[in-house]
Symmetry: C2
Subunit: 492 residues, 2 copies
């Protein structure tokens, strides 16, 4: 449904009422609900895929894979709650002999309250209506309002209906999950500024994410906005590796760059190397691969248009030279792969060369020596990922460069490409600003649940009234830190 301001007021009130109910559910009930959502998504017929194909122009194979990933997110986050990972239990027991007497203190994590999620366009399943932010917020014990992405409204509605069926089957209250289409930015911002909303998840552009951060910071009660805003994901090409396999690296790189028409927040849009005959060979092969790459339809007309204008803006900067453009004709709405180069000295004086061009575009920076490569690295903004194409000899010989790269990113990759973002506990998908609003939290993997919880300590609380995860007998059989020791044992 599309809503008015009054409609939003009612939806937020309902989300708050639902939160007071679902925050009292047992963990088993919360987990069962999440698994029911996964089952409902799994049971969706081919209509889901065909609808998403039509709306997003993504190919069937990619969407089938993304459906599986989305189901896995719901199930693996439910598993993380079941293991107690997201509860992070600590118990410190009493000591009556001490002066003053030491109380019994037990800490668990509780949901923050109603959460607003802004769906992304580039993952219509995994980061939209039923995506990772929604799953993470439910895993935390929150109610969720999704502001549907206008790029794939029917897909979103199919997913919303699946969640709503799970809400009903699980006997949860109306308001546990709401799905709204907003006509204006003002309506969308109400979903951030409303005093009952306690956190926001967002995946999209820097401009969109920063606008929501500003709204949240200006509230009488500021709230966290977890905005994953993308980056250029620099790839560092080190000399020994380059010497060994310049052409092969270039081919692999173009494969990662053009995957999904470059429409990933982890797309490797910037490569950095020191000038050498091998770097020239790398650029030559890269250019040949780009010329042969096939333009494909982008997610929607707006993204295709922005790709062209951002590409033009960047390639018109001083010192930037277009090396190759895909030769096959790009129809309207298609993204044509492009590679350009610039010198380190141009990069150092012009921040515009760091701007993300969302799509299959790469800029290769040619540094005159290792010192300039380090200077270029120091100048980089915060990044979701950074990649080293290197031998272990290269890593050993460039300790300062590697340390500087680590200081700039949330995930550092060795001889692999950043575009696959594995859904697992060890994944960190979030980097120093402006790649994300808060480098301390991930938006992918089960630790993303932690974005939507706050700790609550119970002091000298009667066992019978403690949440089950804190009870002395450890009825859930989960790992807990008791007097600084991890254990599954009952408290003695």
């Amino acid at each position: 449904m599309s809503v008015s301001k009054e409609g939003i007021e009612g939806i937020v009130q309902q989300a708050q009422q639902a939160f007071t109910v679902i925050s009292k559910l047992s963990l088993a009930q919360r987990i069962a609900f999440m698994r029911t959502v996964a089952d409902e998504i799994e049971a969706l017929g081919p209509e889901l895929i065909t609808t998403a194909q039509r709306e997003s122009h993504l190919p069937e194979g990619r969407l089938v894979g993304e459906k599986g990933r989305t189901i896995f997110q719901w199930r693996s986050y439910a598993d993380a709650v079941e293991r107690g990972d997201s509860l992070d239990i600590s118990i410190d027991t009493a000591n009556a002999e001490r002066t003053p007497p030491k109380p019994d203190i037990r800490k668990t994590n509780v949901g923050l309250g109603p959460v607003t999620v802004f769906g992304a366009s580039n993952f219509p399943f995994a980061f939209s209506t039923a995506g990772g932010d929604t799953a993470g917020a439910f895993a935390a014990g929150c109610s969720v309002i999704v502001k549907a992405h206008p790029g794939h409204p029917e897909t979103s509605q199919i997913m919303a209906d699946a969640i709503l069926r799970a809400v009903e089957k699980s006997g949860l209250p109306q308001g546990t999950f709401s799905h709204v289409f907003c006509e204006t930015n003002e309506e969308a911002q109400l979903l951030v500024s409303h005093p009952l909303i306690k956190a926001v998840g967002f995946t999209g552009s820097y401009r969109g994410g920063k606008a929501l951060m500003d709204v949240a910071a200006a509230r009488p009660e500021p709230i966290p906005v977890y905005a994953e805003m993308g980056s250029v994901n620099p790839v560092f090409i080190l000399p020994e590796k380059l010497k060994a396999s310049a052409s092969e690296l270039a081919k692999q790189y173009v494969g990662s760059l053009t995957l999904g028409v470059g429409q990933f927040c982890t797309n490797p849009g910037l490569a950095i190397g020191v000038q050498s005959p091998e770097l020239d060979e790398f650029i030559e092969t890269f250019s040949a691969e780009i010329k042969n790459a096939v333009p494909a339809p982008m997610l929607h007309a707006g993204i295709a248009k922005a790709y062209i204008s951002n590409k033009e803006k960047l390639t018109s900067q001083t010192g930037v030279q277009v090396e190759a453009i895909a030769e096959a004709e790009a129809a309207e709405g298609f993204g044509a792969p492009v590679v350009a180069t610039a010198l380190g000295v141009d990069f150092l004086v012009n921040d515009a060369l760091q701007e993300e061009v969302f799509g299959p575009f790469a800029l290769i920076i040619k540094c005159k020596d290792e010192a300039e490569m380090l200077a270029v690295t120091e100048k980089l903004h915060g990044q979701l990922t950074a990649t080293l194409l290197a031998t272990t000899g290269d890593v050993a010989a460039n300790a300062e460069l590697v340390a500087t790269i680590q200081s700039k990113c949330g995930r550092i990759i060795f001889n692999n490409f950043p575009t696959g973002v594995e859904v697992c506990k060890a994944m960190h998908h979030g980097g120093p600003f402006p790649s994300s609003s808060n480098a301390q939290f991930t938006s992918v993997g089960s630790d993303s649940i932690k974005r939507f919880v706050r700790p609550l300590s119970f002091q000298n609380w009667p066992d019978e009234f403690l949440p089950e995860e804190l009870k002395t007998s450890n009825p859930l059989g989960i790992w807990r830190t008791v007097n600084n020791e991890l254990t599954k044992a009952a408290v003695s």
Copy 2:
């Protein structure tokens, strides 16, 4: 030293240079440094106590205890780093058979960068120059700049010198720790707005904390401000408990209220009960105890003045009635204990009755029935703590009230008082806004280290270049989550 704007620029630059060095230290070196700081503080002679007595008017016994607490903070946070608690290691191993191949991903926590700490006046040791924020930031691997509290400059300098001796003994670079006295708010704000500063710790008033939050949110790169701003810490007096021991509860309450002249952020400034003969008895005993309480000197003249004016502002509100004032004469700069009452109906319509009066002041809210008590609770702002004086029967009979109380606080206490804040892993000292800037983090206990770290994932990274805590052999012997299972074993 007192600094100019130019001085601050140099200090921040030095802190950044030091950060690049200390972020490469081994964990053993980081831990050894923290233990050296603890040893240096322990070795300080009686001058520390006598200086702090003179500057803060706190009694010797309290300061000796606080010195011990401060040393314990440094040692227990070092222990938490040694156990790996603050690293929160996850490892997900590769699977080459999968399509697409699953990479090896390993996640640890790294320091955010240079941190600014604003010392508090009410804990000249434990929450000032060498206090919990400073210890937590070092434990995270950050460099630290402390803006010294002007209320106890000589005490602060003695503590700063102890830290600086530890820096020197540990061979750490200048800039690891800096201690500055600011003449103006503008200078202090530069320590938040400077682009190289990556986080801020603050303990103090709402006004001071919110001003820093606003500066941080307005930066081109917003940074986290961990402001612990205090609250009125409501105490709920439930009927069955009240019936059993009204007078005894009142005596215990006044003991907690007047401890340290009420100068704790966890001081129980608000009591809430349902009108009954037993509540009248409670108020009567409370008043008698207050009359007999002895006024004592407050931390400094500014706090004593604010106590009087805030108390007058609150007691002049409609419906507020002063029940008792300490009868002994309060000299200039002393805080005289006071208790006042108001009806629930007055509280519900006037937010001024929720204002914190920092000092030995309590307001008792008399509700006409349980429904009004629930309404009063729903109206409460976010609190660091909430206390129930109750029987288990009371808890069972008031499930909705108890759930509402939990939604408002960071720590909930059963038949105990909130003024002791135990330094342990299970402690959560931080509550919903405005009691703290971020309810997701604690400022007391070893989990406070997490305020100053961000995760960093390594993908397919060669073992020889991984941080020691992520190496396959687990050389540190710490707990790690490997493929979702906690273990101390090597990765197989």
